[in-house]
Symmetry: C3
């Protein structure tokens, strides 16, 4: 009997231990993981703002890019959470906050296609039109389809951003933007270098933001491997094709490794990650140099910030690579195709709606929204010709004047 007692005592102790263990594990797991996720989430918000600075190369249109970014963020992020919690009845935690940040960053990328095509105030409406379309695509990828690999947002963020943006630009039909001057200066491009280099080092937090804690470190290493690969191959591709490095190709295409690795960052070996990144950089460079002009001629759409070359093409590549390495190639292909089609259709629809409103009087120009007299006066590279210059027959005159 005492042996039975001993057994019972031990079993009871073991049972209590198991319960305690699982409770503790859960506490530790959830608590730590959530706190940890807070900071990866904060990095995503940081990146959202840096995306604006990646687009600051047109000196006379810097503040407008910042303002548009802030406005779409200010509408899209709370709107996503509102639909998420009020209409869909889902919980409001760090996971939702990051998903909403993904939606907002997708929109910030997408407006890069048609920045300067619309008046500043209409970015508010743009965000209202975008969020339901994004959430529909999100549901299509992860609710309707099964087994789609896209932890780091190659498809959800980058492909959808590019094609929704292109759709809007098509719906808007405002080809005269292409004729506007896009003068860069040394420092306007230095801001782009800053943004590109900081985006690069924050990228691992983006692709791991929604991963379980135990997958974060390997995915971080994969992400950096893909990015270092695209930094290198982009340089070589630029050098071989054009000898001189175009900074507005280079600072963008080096990030293509991060775009391309998104779908498979938690599924591949380090070597495969490096190869995906290397190809991503080359594909993006080729897209900037060859596809961009062709697309402009074909569609009449000026992709102001080259969104299609950095996000569209490398995103499709990354999404399709997952057909080979992930489990469900069918779903994967449908997800890529779906993001393109849903993006184009809802984008064109949004563009048609935005077209109802009057066009901006000034395009790609901060003076559309801001009083620019003081800041521009006396700055040789943006100023209207001063009397002295005019008197001397100066050629230091902006293309617009």
């Amino acid at each position: 009997m005492c042996r039975r007692l001993l057994m019972m005592a031990l079993l009871s102790a073991a049972f209590i231990l198991m319960v305690a263990d699982s409770v503790l594990a859960q506490t530790v797991g959830q608590g730590t993981a959530e706190l940890f996720q807070y900071h990866r989430g904060m990095d995503v918000f940081f990146m959202l703002m840096l995306v604006a600075f990646l687009m600051l190369f047109i000196k006379r249109y810097q503040w407008g890019v910042c303002l548009a970014t802030l406005l779409v963020f200010a509408v899209a992020w709370p709107l996503y959470l509102l639909i998420h919690s009020e209409f869909l009845g889902l919980s409001l935690g760090i996971e939702a906050a990051i998903q909403a940040a993904f939606a907002a960053i997708t929109l910030v990328i997408a407006i890069g296609v048609f920045l300067g095509h619309i008046s500043t105030i209409h970015y508010i409406l743009t965000a209202v039109l975008f969020v339901p379309a994004y959430m529909f695509n999100e549901w299509f990828m992860f609710g309707y389809l099964a087994g789609v690999a896209d932890a780091g947002g190659s498809i959800l963020v980058h492909v959808f951003a590019a094609y929704w943006g292109l759709g809007v630009a098509m719906g808007l039909r405002n080809p005269s933007v292409a004729d506007e001057p896009k003068r860069t200066t040394v420092h306007s491009v230095s801001f782009v270098w800053l943004a590109s280099m900081l985006l690069l080092v924050l990228w691992p937090s983006f692709v791991t933001a929604l991963l379980p804690a135990n997958e974060v470190i390997p995915a971080m290493i994969n992400c950096f491997l893909a990015l270092t690969a695209s930094v290198l191959t982009t340089y070589l591709a630029c050098y071989l094709l054009q000898r001189k490095i175009d900074p507005l190709v280079y600072t963008y295409a080096i990030l293509a490794g991060g775009v391309a690795i998104g779908a498979t960052v938690n599924l591949v070996t380090p070597l495969t990650a490096w190869i995906i990144g290397a190809l991503g950089g080359i594909i993006s460079t080729l897209s900037f140099i060859y596809v961009d002009g062709w697309l402009h001629r074909r569609t009449g759409v000026l992709d102001t910030m080259g969104v299609h070359n950095l996000h569209g093409v490398p995103g499709i590549f990354g999404g399709l690579v997952a057909m080979v390495v992930a489990g469900a190639p069918g779903s994967q292909a449908v997800a890529v195709l779906g993001a393109i089609l849903i993006g184009l259709v809802t984008g064109i629809g949004s563009g048609v709606v935005l077209r109802v409103f009057p066009r901006p009087e000034l395009m790609l120009d901060d003076a559309e929204a801001f009083p620019m007299e003081e800041a521009r006066s006396g700055e040789a590279d943006v100023a209207e010709p001063t009397p002295a210059m005019a008197a001397a027959g100066s050629s230091m005159v902006r293309e617009t004047s």
Copy 2:
């Protein structure tokens, strides 16, 4: 007897488990929370430096702002810790490091009122005068009063910064600063956009830096909701009142949602957070457009960086909102009033002390502290007139020359 034995065995096991559980929970809780707090603290230090860049719009007075920020940080942070640990005998951990960073960031905000009013070297003395005053107000709010809600520093940081700074400017009585030129350029303001946008996304780490771990995620969401609200309402208020967006109002006032939500960030629902932020943005915009000039005429004090409009007024609003939602409305009102009065009195005292020393030869001008010849020569927008310009009767001449 065996049943009793079993009971005893089970009870013993349960007891051991309980002890182990509490030990573990403590380890996990404390360890994790501290490590987690390290990074929120690091974000606060990051923000301290960004506050300097928020004030970089006067092109001929950029480096001086950076230098003043570094000097007051270098004195205030260790001085707070010295008093905290040596004189008050409190422990030196992450909590103290963050509290000292709060003191230092409050001072960096405060000097915004009188930047350019004093010589660079006197910022060292300024920090020595500030820290005891700040610590007295901190003790008044949380040691003397009971139940004051101010987790995110609406009162402790923002109200105190504004009124201490105004006090110093009043004590200094140096009205001629108002006549100095404050020329901005496109890029000097682009630095301000960068600082404002990065401050915005880091703000949740500031308001949650001293919160217990379990309150961090909800407070983060509340903070972002308040900020997205003020980004939107500030735009609408600027647009409706002035049609054009003044970037030196906009880049500042969008942060007022963060200032206003500080006192109640861990106490309100998401919807209330959004409303507080929305009102904060409007109030700050109104303050920039209407109160600023009135205050200048009334007090003769030029608030160089508009500290009162971003930190003072929205801080008071945020502090008073807590009267409604928090438990101790009496304490809350006294805390706000106390911060204003303690700030003004100790600030005026400090200003009177600083007034003993000779005034700077150059005000709002980097040349007061730095050799500027090389960096300025050849830059059309800051240079003295070159022979070529003079010969041609150029109007590209700075207001000072």
Copy 3:
């Protein structure tokens, strides 16, 4: 017997508890520490990019610095991991990722000595030559020697960077770089202020990146104390010696406190940390003002970015301070001497190899790698003389033209 049973039951329960406890502790300890280390690691990558911006003061050579930084990072980081995991058979986790980032940041610092001395494409080869040398020194310090204190990289990173870089410059023998113009502008230096101030606040993550979790908070406080001390003493030293503050001395030397505290950041009291930082700032300032020119005359080597003054001299000082406070003064001295010698010898070897390749046609000039016509045209401070200027006999002409 039943008492024996009870004993057995309790012992069994205790044993199970112990096992469970140790398993849990390990999970918590390792898991949390790793997740925590992820973010300190991310800060290190962030700093790597900021080091580039610390070197952006020469306006006509900004983009080239960014490109060189990206290229050496893109080669050095994966190469370190490749050797680490494939050749040395070590595991690939967060520890390795950070160690590789240390290697890469050391190289980014080191190229500061000879930036502009070689063609852009040769930075790829530079990184291939650097990594084995760095890893040999790392093995010498921590594998061959015993008891060397250098948690924060005073010796491993800073001393080695300075002397390897000087070695390369000696091997290259390209003295004509010294004659190239190095014009700064207000904003080119404002980028340096930004980089310096953000590097300063991120520094604690660098010196604690490889520390065990329980040493992180005290080391963070020590690091900030050292940095606030050097911010203050650098100002006082500059002010007393030169009256005016040279921003290209100040923005660099304020970081010397972080360099100097590296070796002993986890071993000293707060007061000692402050003193080490204070001396570090003074030593670095003296090195910039007095040693720099002497070294240039002695060796014929132009240290483009003053690496020796910020990293070399304060690094040696920090490494030697550890002789007093750490346990193994002999090892410590040998480690410092070893880093200097291994750095110089392998650096000179690398320089000799790089000298085989043709010299760049343009030095310290973005036009070596980028098409600069558009960005420079119309910018008075970098532009070739425009017709208007030429007609008016303008003096607004760059030294190069």
